[in-house]
Amino acid sequence: MKPWATLAGIAVAFALLPLFMPGGTLDLYPFAGERLPVHAGFVDLATTVLVFGLFALGFNLLFGHTGELSFGHAMFFALGAYATAIYGKGFDVTLGPLHPQFTGGNNAAVALVLALGSAALWAWFLARLIVPRSSGIYYSMITLAFAQVVYFIAFRWSDLTGGEDGLQGVARPDLPGLPSGWLSDSMHVYIFTATITFVAVAVNFWIVRSNFGSVLHAIRENKQRARFLGYDVDKYRVNAFVLSALFPALAGWLWTYLQQAINPDAGSVDYSGRVVMMSLLGGINTFVGPILGAFVYWDLQNRVSGLTKYWPAAIGVIFAFFVIAAPGGIGSAFESLQRMLARRVRGGAAP
């Protein structure tokens, strides 16, 4: 498929996404019952899908494209989210003799810089530490361990993070050129999130298809061969790690504005595991797979949780089924279907 066609397809999908939510006009589930016109409940769900789709897409830059499994990417999501919330709410902490204070700000751009900056710095520090020393299962375990460090800081440092309860009542920012309070409407939050997410997806798409991206694929396939061709493999692994941390941080920034609150769950093993699940569900070797996976995950969660309180177990079973029956994920099933259709169309058009 032509690159612009992929991006145009994603733009259309984002525009229509709220209608595909459970109970929406385009809900694919055949027994959905009464279809409702657009309402806040499923618009917020659609925003959630985008936020996690972005999170998973960034994670997959490392997992699917570079071949390295981080089990701690929620730490970057949490960093982005907490940076945004703490900047919005301000802080008043005691650090030994020091007593730093901040009354809070309402500039989305400043929050964005803080979210991306903190994630980039932390990711760079970690990558320099982890990459030369580990790969495979050790890499996964070390990323998990550092994510736990971030999680416990969020959990324990109550002065700054609000501890177990987190931070509530984070104000949504005013956007330049739009009336004050524009973001108080769910649909407007969706439009805002979809726009930002689309830009980030386009950037991610650019990275994957660039020369840099093809070296990541080379590293995934055969590190040794890449080294002996003259690539500084560890440098690429560090850069891939930092880049893949920026997308979750951006997602965390959006998440805080959607929820207007944040708690330590954002950095939990549960969240780190969810993006692994979403990526595998959607297909790690396709570009849109992780976004598709986020959609399926939240769609399933929403339906199954209406039926049973044991919904995580049900989703686990569905996930296991997918990994066994369709290891390429939904994305690659979708791609083979697309190829089949393309062949048929070409065959039919021939004289």
């Binding site: 298809r209 093809s214 040794q224 003259g230």
Partner: protein
């Protein structure tokens, strides 16, 4: 002398001083001091376990020596990482085919060509925007005779084609020195012939260091032959000298030639 001049101001490609590599006490390469002259096909032979592959691994940086030093083109490279050695112009193939199996033939070669530009400023631009890259890739595909297979995934190529693809990857950087570890192993007679022709074709202007068991090929294309036995140098000489060497006859050639 022309080959020497072509390879630079140094008269040798590699020079080792007391090079030793021990694996838990066993010295796979034992106190090897040798000058490998620049230019031509230089072959290393020896019985299995003589230390040929270990010697290659030391030269290319896959293994660090236990002691001793390695010089390349007058420069001490003993502690240099493999990718830095590759950038100096040392390329290698492996005994077990080492390619990007799940990528296409073209993607394989393209990555090898692109490695020359690693670190350049326009690296984030879409793949097709880098000047001359595709032409060079097509040229190499043509050189190794794989133009017809360019869009096939490398894992689906025949064994011989995979070996030739790997040689294609090693020549992309136009290296001064090419280390080929048993490039003919497991090939049919036709594949062997095609590959020998390829090696002879790419040899001018560089040094080819060859480990090979096919003694007829070795005798036909080598400028000099080094015989290794139990990690030490048994003899060095032209094919005719090696054929006439009694120690070599006893140790190795006796069973094969």
């Amino acid at each position: 002398m022309s080959a020497v001049e072509a390879a630079g101001e140094c008269e040798y490609a590699f020079k080792t001083e007391h090079l030793t590599r021990a694996f838990s006490g066993f010295r796979a390469v034992n106190d090897v001091s040798i000058d490998i002259p620049a230019g031509g096909v230089r072959t290393i032979i020896g019985p299995n376990g003589a230390g040929k592959t270990t010697f290659f691994n030391l030269l290319s940086g896959l293994l660090a020596p236990s002691s001793g030093r390695i010089f390349f083109d007058g420069r001490d490279i003993t502690a240099l990482e493999p990718y830095r050695r590759a950038r100096l112009g040392i390329a290698r193939s492996f005994q077990i085919t080492n390619i990007f199996a799940r990528l296409t033939v073209h993607e394989n070669v393209r990555l090898a060509v692109q490695a020359v530009h690693d670190g350049s400023a326009n690296f984030f631009f879409p793949s097709r925007k880098m000047a001359g890259l595709d032409e060079r890739s097509e040229q190499i595909l043509h050189d190794v005779g794989l133009t017809g297979e360019r869009d096939v995934r490398a894992e689906y190529l025949s064994h011989g084609d995979q070996r030739r693809l790997e040689i294609g990857l090693t020549i992309a950087r136009d290296p001064h020195v090419l280390l080929l570890d048993e490039p003919l192993a497991g090939m049919s007679p036709t594949e062997t012939q095609a590959t020998v022709e390829l090696i002879v074709r790419i040899a001018p202007g560089r040094t080819i260091l060859l480990v090979e068991h096919d003694i007829d090929v070795v005798m036909a294309i080598s400028e000099t032959i080094t015989v290794l036995q139990t990690g030490e140098i048994l003899a060095v000489g032209t094919p005719a000298e090696i054929r006439a060497n009694e120690a070599v006859q006893r140790a190795y050639l006796g069973d094969l030639a």
